[in-house]
């Protein structure tokens, strides 16, 4: 498991040319993304954002069999549900880390929902959003804070 994560994250790291911290048995957290405490990530590029769920989220969900994508054109609000994923007979709402308008959704997830598990930060992206309030990003966690947050959550049981 750790080896698979290291290979996957090294591949992602070399592609994106960023450093990734490896701790035994921890999930992958990428340095250039921002994170919500409901385990969604967002990549900000100008006033556009790409959103998905984190490696920690997909590990804790189990095999994703269905992704309910939002409609293109609808608005999303920070902290509010915009869709859902189903795994192990559980439908889990996914919340938007930022507010704005949905520009594009990842249609590949309709045929291949498991992309969320195998590639949560790349091919498993869920939606692209035009930001309505760039200031909101300040409320999100950076990679270090998110890593610590995950550790604290996992130590609760």
């Amino acid at each position: 498991m750790a080896l698979r994560l290291m290979l996957a994250s090294s591949r992602i790291a070399s592609h994106l040319r960023i450093s990734v911290s490896h701790r035994a048995f921890s999930s992958v957290v990428l340095k250039d993304l921002k994170y919500a405490d409901s385990h969604e990530w967002v990549k900000i590029e100008g006033n556009k954002a790409t959103v998905g769920i984190t490696d920690h989220a997909q590990e804790h969900l189990g095999d994703v069999v269905y992704v309910k994508l939002p409609d293109v054109g609808r608005s999303v609000s920070q902290g509010e549900s915009f869709g859902a994923v189903e795994s192990v007979k559980a439908t889990s709402d996914i919340n938007s880390p930022i507010s704005g308008k949905v520009l594009q959704v990842n249609k590949d997830l309709s045929e291949s929902p498991a992309l969320v598990n195998s590639s949560p930060y790349e091919e498993g992206w869920i939606m692209k959003v035009e930001l309505s309030d760039a200031g909101e990003v300040k409320k999100l966690m950076d990679s270090d804070k998110y890593s610590k947050f995950c550790e604290e959550e996992d130590s609760k049981h």
Binding site: L61, G62, V88, A90, S92, H157
Partner: protein
């Protein structure tokens, strides 16, 4: 040192499915706002077929118009999972719990629900097992005895599990249960020769197995179900 965790249990008897959804919605909001502790509803439904978020109604094998003839309702829900049947003598548990406060994800949660049912079945000498991949639920051999369908919003759970004590299994013939063809549905009555105590006792045992599986320190048995059943916002 972590603070003690309490589970409040409401035993509601037979509750109409839609009413149970409204009760759960209210409890989920209250749990999210930290107004109530983790809460468990223990109940039964009148004959009811339900579908999950994926709306797999091709797994209902009779026309919807026939349902009233057999005395059953059909409801579409937001839970995970496929089509299933709920009815008398099937024990239903709907835990409304905060997964974030125990650091659980969907997978851990569902696996713990499975363990609760397996533990309960073992009290009657029934060796049950969790499902294989894509077959979440509890099985005795190739026969399904317990079903799971869950919804998680902002880390709070609703819906839950259904364990077959002695329901009329003929109702399952009108569906492809959980979307899995060629596998039977069974019940505790069918799988054990042991004398079954009253359903009240059986429900209490199942609840206790769940409370233990989730390591609750304290279980509070709420005495007056009308508090939950008769609230003004729930009709």
């Amino acid at each position: 040192m972590r603070s003690p965790r309490t589970l409040e249990v409401w035993r509601l008897g037979t509750v109409n499915y839609l009413k149970s959804l409204k009760i759960q919605d209210k409890l989920v909001s209250e749990r999210k706002a930290h107004q109530i502790p983790d809460t468990l509803l223990s109940l039964e439904h009148p004959p009811t077929y339900t579908l999950g978020k994926r709306r797999t109604d091709h797994n209902l094998l009779i026309p919807q118009s026939e349902l009233t003839k057999i005395g059953a309702e059909l409801h579409y829900t937001q839970r995970g999972g496929d089509i299933t049947f709920h009815g008398p003598h099937q024990a239903i548990l709907y835990p409304i719990i905060s997964l974030r406060s125990i650091g659980f994800g969907a997978r851990n949660y569902v696996e713990t629900l499975e363990r609760s049912m397996i533990e309960f079945a073992s009290m009657y000498g029934v060796k049950a097992r969790p499902g294989n991949k894509c077959e979440t639920g509890v099985w005795v051999g190739d026969r399904k005895i317990g079903a799971i369908g869950v919804r998680i919003t902002s880390g709070i759970t609703c819906h839950g599990l259904a364990f077959n004590i002695d329901p009329d299994l003929k109702y399952f013939e009108h569906i492809v249960p959980c979307g899995i063809a060629d596998k039977e549905v069974t019940s505790l009555r069918r799988e054990t020769d042991a004398l079954l105590p009253s359903e009240e006792v059986i429900h209490k045992q199942l609840i206790t197995c769940l409370a233990n599986a989730f390591s609750y320190d304290d279980v509070v048995w709420k005495e007056d179900p009308s508090v939950i059943l008769d609230t003004k916002d729930v009709e």
